[in-house]
Amino acid sequence: MADLAKKQNRRVLTFVVRCFVLIMAITLALQILPWKRLAVILPSLSPFVAICSALAVRTLSVITMLALPLLIMALWRGRWFCRNLCPVGFLSENIRRLRRPANPNFTKLPLIGQWVVLLTLGGAILGYPLFLLLDPLGIFNSFFQALRGPFSAASLIYCLPLLIVLMINFVLAGLWCSHLCPLGAIQVMLFRLRGVFWHKILYWRELSDSNKVLTARRDILALGTGVLTAVATRKLFRPRASKPIRPPGAIDESNFTAVCIRCGNCTRVCPVGIIEPDPGRHGVASFMTPTLRFENNYCQEDCNSCNEVCPSGAIAGLSLAQKRKTTVGLAKVDMSICLLSEERECTVCVRICPYDAVKLVFSKEEYISIPVIDPEKCTGCGACEWVCPVSPKKAITIEAVK
């Protein structure tokens, strides 16, 4: 009797805690707190993102450390996070309460989540973590990020992943959480790993909450497949003709599309709204990754917000001083449409450049002034493209650097 009451109390407590965590997670994702950079916390908590991205970008940052608590918890308590804190899991459970179908038996199904983790890890060794974007916290984050901004086709797409996850869980009785979720899987694997070390056993050992586990041989096979797939995918989805312009501090383009988890933090945190999710303009792999557009503003010289909120290190955590020296692209002038070639009154690109990188050079032969870019000074901030009065195509544009 007392046991039952205790159990009841515990259940209530868990419920209250999970409600609180859900609200906190939504608050963080919506960026409604005055400290915008706090948005980085939620997706950074995931050890899946932390391990794979740290491996991929080969850096350990303060943001990576945010995943330590969950990592340690997983080593000792396995999927403790899933049961007690995960906002996606909590949402799914509550939605599933709407109807209570007989739980289909998925025990025969392979633990796809673990394969996903291994493939991603294998890819990460090459700097191309294949399925990093399947992290549920990133998916959760992007949903609420999308809700916050002005509504558009992009925000609809940002909303989709979470809806799909919830749908899978609703229709297929928690299949996502049990079999697909890489965050859940990595916790199981970490727990197992500790077990392996703890008992100094090289080969497999039965786990309490899962009947089916991969053997070490299989792990290596999966890792190898991950490496190979990463090579193939990177080749297959190599950015085509137009290379996108990424936020300042973005890692190498060939790896960016995999390291970016599409959490939407940078898009929403940008105070001038120039970061836009790529609607597929730069190839399939680049879909929904952040690109810079200078139609309505330019990358501000006194801002490094996007550097502060990237959980996976796809955008490096640059300081303001570092960011000011970071090049995202290079301005290029098209004199065939520049107003100066028609002797019209305009020098706005020269006047606005915050880095003093555009100079007017007078051509004695042509007897006109030509805006010339100093590649040493130009960071590709886009101020010149923004103010250029020539339309529809601007006479000065930012091009991605090779």
């Binding site: 002797e343 009154e345 007897y367």
Partner: protein, 451 residues
């Protein structure tokens, strides 16, 4: 009589080189009788020859001896420069009830608008709406009534005016308003009493002379007066060009001309006179207050205009085109810019910044340019009193300066400075302390649009 005249006209204006030295308060005790133009000048000449003394070589150095300068005028508001902003300031101050003296270095009014052949008025409109009103609109309406004086007056267009018609209209407006004028007189010095500007010194064929005033408006375009007075300013560079007009545009052989892929360079844009176009020039970035640069540019540009003309006449179809005239004034775009109490900025404009002391608004040069308010504070210098900067000297950031330096905004700032100076004289206060609501009320009554 002789005594009275000399007491009135000869005052202790010391300071002969560079900076105007202190002026005794006795200056304002002098006779304030109305002057007819020329009378005071004649007195100066008759009583002491030309009123000038030669400069002497002393130890290899050229020394200007200390001398007393004749005071040609004592006035309420002195406007230095008769360009768009100077004329607007003088007319507005006179209409607001002040006694006004306007001094211009050339023989006509309008500055770069007329002498510089900058015939286009960009930034009159924002979208379809005309936003630079007041004297700007009044002048344009006067031009409307004349033949071949202004075109492109429809909503959203940038009007193009005829220089001669504009010169005449401005001259008549000055005359009708009852402004005292000295032409051919170059403002060279500020007269200071502590940090208060008390007038300016001019150089002319008659010799160097002083005009004492309660308020001074520096419409010189290069901040000649406020820079000497000690107001902080920014020295900027910009392209300096030389504009010309070409004729026989109606005699272009269109069948031949159409064979070319692209029209040739230097055919310019239409003017109110049907067969004449005006041709703009960008020119190299230069220091517009360096006489060496200005001299070289005049000669280089003239050669370029003739070379371009030669090329154009060799282009099939354009054989009959000829050069009508080259502007008599070099096209200086920017030089000294006041560091005012407030500054118009591009970022502010983009963010829709509002000013409590707004005195006018600017239009767009190109579609998509921001709408911007011009505050009175952009005309008021730091540190020195009773001088206002107008036209392309008004305080503005480098980007928003592109519309600010053009004629419509110059007319707007000139108009406001004129009214503000007159009100400051009436209230006996410092120019910077003028009552903003009163200033705005007067401006609105005079047809200005403040957003």
């Amino acid at each position: 009589m002789d005594n009275g005249l000399s007491r009135r006209t000869f005052l202790g204006v010391l300071g002969t080189t560079g900076f105007g030295a202190g002026l005794g308060s006795s200056a304002f005790g002098a006779d304030k009788g109305a002057h007819l133009p020329g009378k005071a000048g004649k007195a100066a000449m008759t009583s002491r020859g030309s009123g000038r003394s030669p400069v002497r070589l002393a130890g290899g150095k050229v020394i200007q001896p200390q001398r007393e300068l004749p005071v040609f005028r004592e006035t309420d508001v002195l406007v230095v420069g008769g360009g768009p902003s100077g004329v607007a300031a003088a007319v507005a101050a006179r209409r607001t009830g002040a006694k006004v003296t306007l001094v211009e270095r050339y023989g006509c009014f309008g500055g770069l608008w007329t002498g510089g052949l900058v015939l286009k008025l960009p930034g009159v409109c924002y979208g379809k709406k005309q936003v630079t009103m007041g004297l700007c609109e009044e002048i344009l309406q006067k031009l409307d009534k004349m033949d071949n004086a202004v075109i492109e007056r429809n909503p959203g267009e940038q009007p193009t005016t005829d220089a001669e018609a504009t010169k005449y209209v401005l001259s008549e407006m000055i005359r009708e308003a009852g402004v005292d004028v000295y032409l051919h007189s170059w403002g060279v010095d500020a007269i200071m009493d502590g940090n208060v500007v008390k007038g300016a010194v001019f150089e002319s064929k008659t010799g160097r002379f002083a005009v004492l005033a309660k308020m001074v408006i520096d419409a010189s375009g290069d901040g000649d007066i406020f820079s000497i007075a000690g107001a902080p300013y920014e020295h900027r560079k910009h392209g300096v060009g030389l504009v010309c007009r070409i004729g026989n545009m109606d005699k272009i052989d269109q069948t031949k001309a159409k064979q070319a892929k692209k029209p040739p360079r230097g055919i310019g844009l239409p003017t109110p006179i049907p067969d004449i176009n005006w041709v703009n020039m960008g020119g190299p970035e230069s220091d517009c207050v360096d006489i060496n640069d200005l001299t070289r540019l005049e000669m280089d540009h003239r050669r370029q205009i003739w070379r371009q003309m030669d090329k154009l006449r060799k282009t099939p179809g354009y054989e009959k085109v000829y050069l009508v005239e080259v502007a008599s004034q070099l096209g200086v775009r920017i030089s000294r810019v006041l560091t005012g109490m407030k500054q118009v900025t591009f970022k502010g404009a983009k963010a829709g910044q509002k000013f409590s002391d707004v005195i006018g608004v600017g239009g767009e040069l190109n579609p998509g340019d921001p709408f911007f308010e011009i505050p009175f504070g952009a005309l008021v210098p730091r540190k020195v009193e009773n001088i206002l900067a107008v036209g392309r000297c008004a305080s503005a950031g480098p980007v928003i300066m592109e519309p600010m330096r053009c004629i419509p905004c110059s007319l707007v700032t000139g108009h406001a400075a004129g009214v503000a100076s007159a009100l400051a004289v009436q209230n006996g206060c410092l120019c910077r302390d003028v009552e903003i609501p009163k200033l705005q009320k007067h401006l609105r009554e005079q047809g200005a649009y403040l957003g």
